[in-house]
Symmetry: C2
Subunit: 683 residues, 2 copies
């Protein structure tokens, strides 16, 4: 036990080194995420005391004033100091914030979001064109806070910062599973913390219509199970986001993904009529009738009403996945197509989009839609959100369409942050001309909601989305994955202080599975796993909107920090497996500790399985974990002592690793690549 | 390390034994809290399958229907099965719920809350007078769910249940710190889970006026910092509580604790005028003027408005702590007292209460108030809430007043659940006559909010309040503290599944302190501590409403489960410290593991302290913990091996324990009584 305590201590030291948390020092320690476009660290720092004052010397802005008070409040929480929330006007305050104008009432993607931040030993100056830039600057400022001896300081830096892309979004699908307003608000807080600026609110789906219409009340009466946002709530959320520098782009899916519309208003259908809200996932055959004048009157009236809630320049009409078999067999629709020279469904959908575009234009709104709206029949002032990938996006740009990239950022694919991070809306090797590149407005992270609910959504979005946010904001050459992970660990905890539950939800679900507060072993066990991707889960488990989401797969998180730590440790250790330098030794200790800990957790976790049927599908994974942990420990021993393993050991071990890659229990092991490297490295 | 894994395994076994979680079996395993008044366990059980059906065969009640759907949803989460939410009417469903009447529109404390629940291998029957009884029955049903092999079952039982007390409350002070509606809602969910039935909403304080008045809008404009409940929100909360069988009794403090009223309406003051919302805690000198006719016109108008929001029969007028020095020096007030033959402040306050009682009576409301309203001048139909204790309560009852006990349940005193649990509104040795005993309506847990905010409130209330809820509900002779703790561990996790954050908040705050997700050592360290009481904190630290609450004391929880486990283990071990029976051995292992773990955590935690100034006040406690853990390990060694400790060891150790009892860092050690016993037991 004492020995183990020492080992734990070594691991802690190692973790400190890995996470880059230095002990207190005046020297600037970079925990910023996203990285600013330009930063110069100077010597010295400003001590934060309870005498700190803040002034706003530029254009008057209630939005800015509110943001300053929130910033001070977070600084209080961080430092434990009680600070004044009086905003002064004198330019002699500790922190002086100067914005040139109050900015437009409705935030635009063309707004100048740049800012500068200069801190010295005596004062801090923030300058920005509008309050939105100042908001970004204050988030940077909070990330600059570090400890020095017994106080907190702001190190002296000079920062000039502006985003690489103007459209940096997160989409949340509230159709398949409804998310309460407080969930959205805390996610908006998190978005603001990492300088995202578009909340794309996916409000309608086959599985639910989530926004109140007073003109068409049946949409939510019949199409929502009572789970929808009132107009008052939606307006409040739009205002909440605006105060945090975030636009709200609402999405109303049409003509497909529209079962919830049709349940309420059958007169809009193309021939077939759904009997109720769709519970199954996947693509539905029910679509709006694009040939019926009533359809456009309805859409016009509905969108007119929605513009009183959503002031943003853009309205997203979805437009994806509308196979519409009825269009190919409804005689009236076929006749219409013939009369209008529309040769196939794509042409008919383009016709539909053109009509809707006319309505939006009349309402002084611009259209956004998924890849499918990309059709030469549409004028160039629509924005195409690409779920098909960089190539599709580039093709649109070459034809003059503005676009935003989403395909690589589908976070229900459960890819690690490091991989998501490197995907670039305009890769270094792009063949687009500079003019065409300007048409790539940015990117969006889509959070589709088949397999999540309010308990688990945060851990699906965060912290990985913070890494993508850096991709959207920071210069293209900021691509050091290890350094990103180091900063991500810090940001992740900062997000939790904003109310996010991405770190606590795993524990809560594990406790529910264990039926006890005592989950030390469950935690160790869970650290070896991550959820399978949306695709893998869909192909293995039949889930619907009504499936309870309280299985082990729902508890565990994608890309738990230990995954990358193991990967790095294996790389470090394998460069010199028997060397005595501290980094190698730390790496060896971390790997050994990991395999021993997860292995030791199994028998305790099996006790829980025996009394918790809901947990029993993990049975095979538990047995595999025992085997794999022994392989890991043995491999380390052979490598560390330069011993040749017994005959067949390597083949046998690799076969077990291979077997562990097969689907089971809806979770995957996090450490198989590292373990494979270790095994292969033995003699 | 391997050795340690085995040890961990032994501890896990021990924990399983301690927590009473048996492996799956058909036999009824009692995890009910509160315990029902009568329960017979029969043989057999009903397997829960996705074919489970529910019918409501009695009086029609939307409230009941909603509750059934919520219950099914929780059953789905628990079992992982997708169940039908269609409520049938046939008496042949798996679960038949029969209520005799829909009950009154406004819930009364006189409502019959009793129910019966009979489960067999084939069906379950719930019968109740009104839906409120059926709600209680459904909470019991959910607690009955247990595992059997690979499925979940309801064991066969016959339960007849009704509450011992009719008024079972939780008061939340939203004045000193505002709590968002979602915090209140999840606390109401938790209340319902343990069969509490009164949410006492403390809405006004010197530090804030939290309810919107349209007649007197300045109350919140000037008295709330913008933190208040709109009338719509309050009505929604009342409806939310009603749907869960919980009355909402609002409290409007008068004539004292009224700074927020007076900031808004200075014309109501007794002579002195506050300059702003009070930030300091403690008793204020500012009070309403009880001699001014305007005061009563104001109160009349205000309360009339409030009755449109709060339908409950009772309105709580506070009435406590009104020293009112102005009453003794304002000539106009002195003249009034003389003219009305009122000899002192108490008499004047009784006069005031009589006037307010008149207003309430006119509004068809009854009055509740704190001890101070107890005055012979008032008629007998007021309810006295006693913060002075059982004796004061009994005295009221002897004079014919109805009362509810609060004094022993002040949970900001941070007493362990076991102690709170044993305090009884009508102790077994009461001298009250049966008639007088009937006047004791029950009790209330007051959650005063000087030192909490929305991040920490849940851990201050739960799970300890569940133990008190059992006191209010279950028969007087249900008093086994060890068994209570066993069931409390299970209930605590159930509460978390309802959205409570009492278990996650500690981790979140520790991560914020550590600035990293890696808090294994911080967790171990924290398990040795609990927060000091409100009184101890107040006397050591100057806090105001504006003090940031992000210190270590805010992170740690009162009465962490390990506290009682250590206490029990020490008792078990000391009955035969060297015996080889499994219970003694388990106890020894648990104690050794605890002391080794908390001791080993210190150096790692000190690394965090070095870089986190906010955490540095715990420096002394960390050093003490190192010493104390060594004492614990040594004591176990001497006892286990029947070795005589070195000279001076015992005196020296007891002196160190004594030193550790002194205040430091606003936290106390949880294990000193057990450690003292161990040291004293050595030769």
């Amino acid at each position: 036990m004492r020995k183990n305590a020492l080992l734990a201590f070594a691991i802690a030291l190692s973790a400190v080194r890995v996470s880059g948390q230095s002990t207190a020092t005046d020297a600037f320690h970079n925990n910023l995420m996203p990285e600013p476009s330009s930063l110069t660290a100077n010597t010295g720092s400003l001590s934060i005391t309870n005498g700190l004052t803040v002034s706003a010397t530029g254009a008057s802005s209630p939005l800015l004033d509110h943001a300053i008070v929130r910033m001070i409040s977070r600084l209080e929480d961080r430092t434990g100091l009680q600070l004044s929330k009086q905003i002064q006007t004198a330019p002699t305050a500790t922190l002086v914030i100067d914005v040139r104008s109050a900015g437009p009432a409705v935030q635009s993607f063309e707004e100048d979001e740049s800012y500068s931040l200069t801190s010295t030993a005596n004062s801090i100056k923030i300058e920005a064109a509008t309050p939105v830039g100042a908001l970004h600057a204050m988030e940077t400022l909070l990330q600059l806070v570090q400890a020095s001896g017994s106080s907190y300081v702001i190190p002296s830096v000079t920062i000039q910062d502006s985003p690489r892309f103007r459209w940096r979004g997160l989409m949340i699908d509230c159709g398949r599973h409804f998310e309460p307003i407080e969930v959205l608000k805390r996610n908006i807080d998190a978005m603001a913390a990492v300088k995202l600026n578009v909340f794309h609110w996916h409000l309608t789906e086959d599985q639910g219509f989530r926004i109140e219409s007073k003109r068409f009340p049946k949409l939510t009466e019949k199409g929502s199970d009572g789970l929808f946002y009132t107009q008052e709530q939606a307006r409040d959320l739009v205002a909440y986001a605006r105060e945090r520098g975030i636009r709200v782009v609402p999405e109303f899916e049409m003509p497909g993904h529209s079962v919830a519309w049709l349940v309420a208003y059958p007169e809009l259908n193309s021939g077939s009529q759904p009997t109720g809200i769709r519970r199954e996932f996947g693509v539905s055959d029910y679509v709006l009738d694009p040939t019926h004048p009533e359809t456009y009157k309805f859409i016009d009236s509905f969108l007119t009403e929605m513009t009183t809630i959503f002031p943003d320049e853009y309205i997203h009409i979805g437009g994806d996945e509308a196979p519409a078999p009825d269009w190919k067999k409804n005689p009236r629709i076929l006749a219409f197509m013939k009369a209008h020279d529309l040769h196939d469904n794509d042409a008919l959908q383009a016709y539909f989009n053109t009509q809707v575009l006319g309505i939006l234009t009349k309402l002084h709104r611009r259209m956004a839609g998924w890849d499918e709206i990309f059709n030469p029949a549409l004028p160039k002032d629509v924005v195409i959100q690409s779920w098909r990938g960089v190539a599709s996006l580039a093709k649109g740009a070459q034809q003059g369409y503005e676009g935003i990239l989403s395909a690589p950022y589908y976070i229900d694919g459960m890819q690690p942050a490091g991989k998501l991070y490197l995907a670039d809306p305009v890769p270094a090797d792009t063949t687009l001309t500079p003019e065409q590149q300007k048409l790539i407005l940015g990117g969006e992270v889509p959070m589709w909601a088949e397999h999540l609910d309010q308990r688990t959504i945060d851990s699906r979005i965060w912290p990985r989305t913070a890494a993508i946010a850096e991709r959207f904001w920071s210069p293209q050459n900021v691509r050091d994955v290890d350094d990103m992970y180091r900063r991500l660990d810090v940001v992740s905890v900062e997000l939790e202080t904003l109310g996010l539950r991405h770190l606590t939800s795993e524990d809560a679900e594990l406790r529910a599975l264990a039926g006890s507060e005592n989950i030390a072993a469950m935690r160790d066990f869970a650290s070896a796993f991550e959820p399978v991707s949306f695709g893998e889960r869909s192909s293995t488990q039949h889930t619907t909107q009504l499936t309870p989401l309280t299985s082990f797969v729902d508890a565990v998180r994608p890309d738990p920090p230990i995954r990358h730590q193991i990967e790095v440790a294996a790389k470090t250790f394998l460069t010199a497996p028997t060397a005595q330098d501290p980094a190698t030794n730390d790496a060896h200790q971390l790997l050994l500790h990991f395999f021993e800990t997860v292995g030791a957790s199994v028998p305790r976790v099996q006790l829980v399985m025996d009394r918790q049927p809901r947990f029993q599908p993990i049975h095979t994974r538990a047995e595999q974990l025992t085997e794999l942990s022994v392989i890991g420990i043995d491999a380390l021993k052979y490598l560390n002592t330069s011993t040749t393993p017994p005959a067949q050991w390597k083949e046998h071990s690799l076969a077990q690793i291979e077997a562990a890659k097969k689907p089971s229990g809806l979770v995957n092991f996090t450490f198989l690549p590292a373990l494979t490297q270790l095994v292969n490295a033995t003699r």
